[in-house]
């Protein structure tokens, strides 16, 4: 690689070509864009909360609805312990299990830490991998300029990892790569770890078993 380290012609051509960059004053445009980003972020975070509520609340509500007829009323509190936070709320209102509105269990799912070591026997809930994840959450994590979108159909999620193709605001800007995200279980947040058209597992420490890399 020593030859490649010393390429004077390439270096000289780059220095010359770079001079075509100009010297426009971008301060006003920068401040304007910054304010726009701030507004967009505020909207996105509100949307992300709503999406998270829906994404987690609906399956939980459906699961509880499926379980409730099979269980006698006396066993209902124990069945819901896995979803309960550590607060030992005595004699929880049984009406909660009859027709869940979706809001109560959802909030507990998203905001509370894992429950204390009283693991109940039925391992009905899989490990928290962050999947499925909504497009709004990934858009916020990706933090792209206005106009760039992630479509739900373009998201692949597995084992705390996700990839998503990005839809550019115009065809001229459209690329062919994906954005790579990793889920942090402790904080229940997604963060962007990279992007590219060839996702190599070793580059990100991503397990091949996710099926998202090679």
């Amino acid at each position: 690689m020593s030859d490649d380290d010393d390429l004077p012609v390439l270096r000289q051509a780059m220095a010359g070509l770079a001079e075509h960059g100009g010297s426009t004053d971008l301060y006003d445009r920068t401040v304007h864009t910054s304010r726009r980003l701030g507004r967009r972020r505020a909207i996105a975070s509100g949307g992300a909360v709503a999406a998270a509520v829906l994404a987690i609340g609906v399956p939980v509500a459906l699961a509880q609805r499926q379980q409730s007829p099979a269980l006698p009323p006396a066993t209902v509190p124990s069945a819901s312990t896995s979803a309960e936070p550590s607060t030992p709320a005595p004699t929880a209102t049984p009406s909660r299990t009859v027709t869940p509105t979706g809001t109560t269990p959802t909030r507990r799912e998203t905001t509370h830490r894992p429950s204390s070591p009283r693991t109940s026997s039925p391992p009905s809930r899989p490990a928290d991998t962050g999947c499925p994840v909504s497009a709004a959450i990934l858009e916020e994590a990706a933090d792209y300029p206005a106009g760039y979108r992630i479509k739900p159909a373009d998201i692949r999620c597995s084992q705390g990892w996700a990839t998503a193709a990005l839809t550019a605001p115009s065809p001229e800007q459209q690329g062919d790569g994906v954005v790579i995200f990793q889920y942090t279980r402790a904080t229940k947040t997604w963060k962007k770890v990279g992007e590219g058209s060839d996702v190599q597992c070793a580059d990100y420490g991503m397990p091949k078993s996710t099926g998202l890399c090679y």
Binding site: M1, D3, D4, D6, L7, P8, V9, L10, R11, Q12, A13, M14, A15, G16, L17, A18, E19, H20, G21, G22, S23, T24, D25, L26, Y27, R29, T30, V31, T33, S34, R36, L37, G38, A142, D143, Y144, P145, Y148, L166, A168, P171, E172, Q173, Q174, G175, D176, G177, V179, V193, G194, E195, G196, S197, Q200, A202, D203
Partner: protein, 175 residues
């Protein structure tokens, strides 16, 4: 967002924008896209002013944002014609620097055929003169990725614009 930090940022933008535009031009190949890229990167720095305690961090933060935005946008290049004509206008065969301008035209066309990441790696290594480790830190990837991307990019340059590489090899052989 007022106060001394905002004033420092304003001064930083006005002082360093030309240098940022030079790098952005190599990354995008187009002056307007370069301005957009620098503007977006500066806007992210502006959003993070409270986190950036002292002025010295502005440029590092902006450059990092710029490279990440560039690699993530996969901008498609449709600018070759306009810039080439601008360059070719200056490529007067009777003038001494015509050979240099020819090389710039070759480089511009060759860069347009690289992937954004390959292009970013070349700019970091051969324009900003960063080490492999520094380039890896800038692009948030491994040194191995920098090596492989550099190798692929140079191989592609050899195929597209051999003058850019071959002349340096010849120069090296002549020594």
């Amino acid at each position: 967002m007022d106060g001394p930090i905002a004033a420092d940022f304003s001064e930083f933008v006005r002082a360093r924008t030309p240098a940022l535009l030079r790098t952005a031009f190599l990354l995008t190949g187009d002056r307007h896209l370069a301005e957009d890229l620098v503007q977006d990167a500066l806007a992210r720095t502006h959003r993070a002013l409270r986190k950036l305690a002292d002025e010295g961090h502005f440029e590092a933060y902006t450059r990092t944002a710029m490279y990440h935005l560039h690699v993530s946008r996969w901008r498609r290049r449709r600018f070759a014609e306009s810039l080439d004509s601008e360059l070719l206008d200056r490529a007067d065969p009777v003038r001494d620097h015509s050979a240099r301008v020819d090389l710039q035209v070759s480089l511009h066309q060759a860069l347009a055929q690289l992937t954004p990441r390959q292009r970013a790696v070349l700019v970091l290594r051969y324009f900003e003169d960063r080490t492999e480790a520094e380039a890896a830190a800038q692009l948030s990837c491994s040194i191995g990725t920098i090596k492989s991307q550099t190798s692929k990019a140079l191989a592609r340059l050899r195929a597209i614009a051999p003058d850019l590489i071959a002349s340096s090899a010849a120069e090296g052989a002549a020594r």
